[in-house]
């Protein structure tokens, strides 16, 4: 079982997203995260799917995705060098001495405080999923009010497109 990051280019049409999501649930493939948005070409969306599975299952995942009529291209980015980024917005209790502590921690992780009240901070953080996890671990769980993560987006390294 390995973690895979799959990039899918697909027609930006109603229903295309549910076709992909439906494929994963119908065939029992695992989805850890899934993001989708239009690309520089308005008619094309790009989806990034974080999944896990044996080699045989991944072969089927790629083939079954390719089989969907609206899917233009499929790529397993984890097979080559790639960059992965995820955005996290996190709202934490911040009173008294915690305010300095949280700010310091956010700095260490290169996070930015983007909203402030007298009792809370909202921090924006990007990075790999691992880095975001690490930040969450570093915080006292009692401090966390709310977390929202975008799921991973990823792109291959180098000059070529997928």
């Amino acid at each position: 079982m390995h973690r895979h990051i799959i990039s899918v280019l697909l027609e930006n049409e109603a229903g295309a997203l549910s076709r992909v999501a439906g494929l994963f649930s119908a065939r029992g493939y695992n989805i850890e995260a899934m993001t989708v948005a239009p690309t520089h070409e308005a008619s094309v969306s790009r989806m990034t799917i974080l999944t896990q599975g044996s080699e045989e299952i991944m072969e089927q995942v790629l083939k079954q995705l390719n089989k969907l009529v609206e899917v233009i291209r499929v790529n397993d980015l984890s097979e080559g060098p790639h960059i992965e980024r995820e955005l996290m917005l996190i709202k934490v209790h911040a009173v008294g001495s915690d305010r300095e502590e949280v700010k310091r921690l956010a700095d260490i992780f290169r996070g930015r405080i983007i909203d402030v009240t007298d009792r809370s901070y909202t921090i924006e953080l990007t990075g790999t999923g691992e880095k975001l996890d690490a930040f969450l671990h570093a915080l006292d769980p009692g401090m966390v009010i709310e977390v929202v993560r975008s799921g991973a987006s990823a792109i291959s390294r180098g000059a070529k497109s997928i």
Binding site: G22, E56, V71
Partner: protein, 579 residues
């Protein structure tokens, strides 16, 4: 460009400027696709389309009695002809009734275009009267589906649907059309071509791989061809026969592949799999090269995967890359259309001088397995054996009938005892195993081939799942011959309960059966009953003599006969329960 072509061009361009309603576009596009028969059932959301259908006679509409039957009939129309089947149903319950038919076609890769009515665009999502999310419900059981929200997209969508249904790995495509779209007008121009950047099925196989495959076959001591529905779907039975004869190798067919190679030929070992022959299953387990063509390694075929074809190098040709190495890892994968691939293989085989190998030892072994006579049964003069009925049907129709079937023991006996020498004569639901398929399927086949003898081999359980279609048969004077192997049991279920549930026959007994002879008569048909073995032949002869009448033959057969051989689910193919 030749003169007649130019005239055609001119007439076409004069129609291009016309403004048509959505309903007119639907009918016109169907005509432009060459559709001659549509199976359907009306309702509010499709009334504009019905209105247009009624104004013309290039397309015949066949009114069924249940939407499931419309789709099965369209499906069998396609299976018997190779053309794309078309069904038309209304929104809501019309669409949901059609779902079993669509899923049946999907599992067996049958090209269909199913048109469903939908509530007007403005009402979609409103829980409107007779609204269901048809594209949502059918997404997992169609090759693709569309909701057409704009009449301007209608013609292109229909064109695309027909293209998708038949190309690559075929399958049902659904078009959901809101009622208001069928009333709106726009210019009609039927597109010449479909361009889809995201869909380009591979046709030609990789020549290097094909050479490699042929070398493996040539070097094999114990080669075996295992071919399936893909041979039928791609109309490549002749090409297959040529290759197999050249190699002098044995061949087995899946349930869906029957007729892809002449059953009467010496090289044919019968069906393989759960109810396959001893010789076919033993050959799979002992071959050193297995050539899988248009077959998908279904679990009814492979039995226990870890014991399947343990000594074989496997070659697999399929148009769908996802079929390859899905269940069984293969050594030589080839993606391509079988017709094109087999043609190339025949040419390459000629060029490479393949053929005339010495497979005597392999054939000697196979003949030994054949001696086991695994399909043997004894017909006494008291109780009718179901196998005997099928065998008599085969003899008396001289193997020339189109045989449809339902699902159960009778289906397996039909597959085992009716020898199909030609493709598209055997029509059954393999992948979904849909009881209720047989009678509407016979209607579709009979509509497609009015001159052919169409026999529906069924059980007293299955026939009752679409019995209402006897009325359709009456309306369209379809001279179908129903052969009901009436064992008074959900026999296939009963067999499993006998073997695997310690003979506890929970709900497998069919109580309160109707008198099928009277029932047939009530629908205006002829009913005949055979109660003892001596009745079988006269009943069949009489039914066949009544050429233009539908005849329901009720054969009271041995109630507890089982289908043999049987590989229990999950066992290795060689672990067969034999008679």
């Amino acid at each position: 460009m030749s003169a007649p072509n130019q005239t055609r061009e001119r007439t076409r361009s004069s129609t291009e400027t016309e403004e048509l309603t959505g309903a007119e576009i639907v009918v016109r596009a169907l005509r432009d696709e060459g559709v001659e028969t549509v199976f359907g059932y009306p309702g509010g959301a499709v009334l504009y389309i019905y209105d247009e259908l009624d104004k013309q006679d290039a397309i015949q509409h066949v009114l069924v009695r249940h939407e499931q039957a419309a789709v099965h009939a369209a499906d069998a129309y396609s299976r018997s002809t190779g053309k794309i089947g078309v069904a038309l149903v209304t929104s809501g319950p019309g669409a949901t009734n059609a779902v079993t038919g669509i899923a049946t076609a999907y599992m067996d890769s049958i090209p269909l275009v199913v048109i469903t009515g939908q509530v007007p665009v403005a009402l979609i999502g409103n829980d409107a009267f007779q609204e269901v999310d048809t594209v949502g419900i059918t997404r997992p059981c169609t090759k693709h589906n569309f909701l057409v929200r704009d009449v301007n997209e209608l013609a292109q969508t229909i064109k695309t649907a027909f293209y998708l249904a038949a190309s690559g790995r075929p399958g049902p495509v659904l078009i959901d059309i809101p009622k208001d779209v069928t009333a709106k007008r726009c210019r009609y121009e039927y597109p010449e071509k479909v361009q889809l950047r995201s869909y380009k099925p591979t046709v030609k196989g990789h020549s290097g791989q094909l050479r490699k495959a042929l070398q493996l076959i040539a070097a094999a001591e114990r080669p075996l061809f295992y071919t399936g529905g893909g041979v039928i779907l791609s109309d490549s039975a002749d090409e297959l026969t040529q290759l197999v004869r050249r190699c002098d190798a044995p061949i087995t067919n899946t349930l869906m592949g029957l007729g892809g190679y002449p059953a009467s030929d010496r090289q044919f070992l019968g069906m393989l799999g759960m109810h396959g022959t001893y010789e076919a299953n033993m050959a799979v387990q002992h071959c050193d090269v297995l050539v899988a063509l248009g077959a998908r390694f279904d679990d009814r075929v492979t039995g226990n995967l870890s014991h399947f074809a343990p000594h074989a190098k496997i070659i697999h040709v399929d148009v769908d890359p996802a079929s390859i190495s899905k269940n069984v890892k293969v050594d030589v994968p080839v993606v391509g259309d079988l017709r094109s691939v087999l043609r190339e293989m025949n040419e390459l085989a000629e060029e490479m001088g393949i053929g005339g190998g010495s497979l005597e030892r392999w054939w000697a072994q196979i003949e030994e397995w054949r001696q086991r006579d695994c399909l043997h049964y004894t017909q006494t003069d008291t109780i009718i054996k179901p196998q005997y009925v099928v065998q008599k049907l085969f003899e008396l129709t001289v193997g020339n009938a189109i045989v449809t079937s339902d699902v159960g023991q009778h289906q397996m006996w039909a597959a085992q005892f009716y020898g199909f020498d030609r493709p598209r004569r055997w029509i059954n639901s393999g992948g979904l195993g849909t009881m209720g398929f047989g009678l509407p399927a016979a209607m579709g086949a009979q509509m497609a081939e009015p001159q052919s003898t169409v026999v529906c081999v069924t059980g007293e359980g299955s026939i009752q799942m679409n019995i209402q279609e006897l009325s359709t048969c009456r309306q369209y004077k379809l001279p179908i011959k129903v052969a009901c192997l009436n064992n008074g049991y959900l026999g296939m279920v009963r067999q499993w309960q006998e073997f695997f549930y310690e003979e506890r026959y929970a709900s497998s007994y069919m109580e309160a059966l109707p008198d099928f002879v009277k029932l047939a008569e009530a629908y205006g048909h002829i009913g005949l009953r055979a109660e003892k073995p001596a009745d079988v032949e006269p009943v069949i002869r009489e039914a066949l003599r009544l050429k233009d009448r539908m005849v329901f033959m009720d054969f009271l057969v041995d109630r507890t006969e089982n289908v043999y051989p049987m590989v229990p689910a999950g066992a290795a193919l060689s672990d067969m329960i034999l008679v």
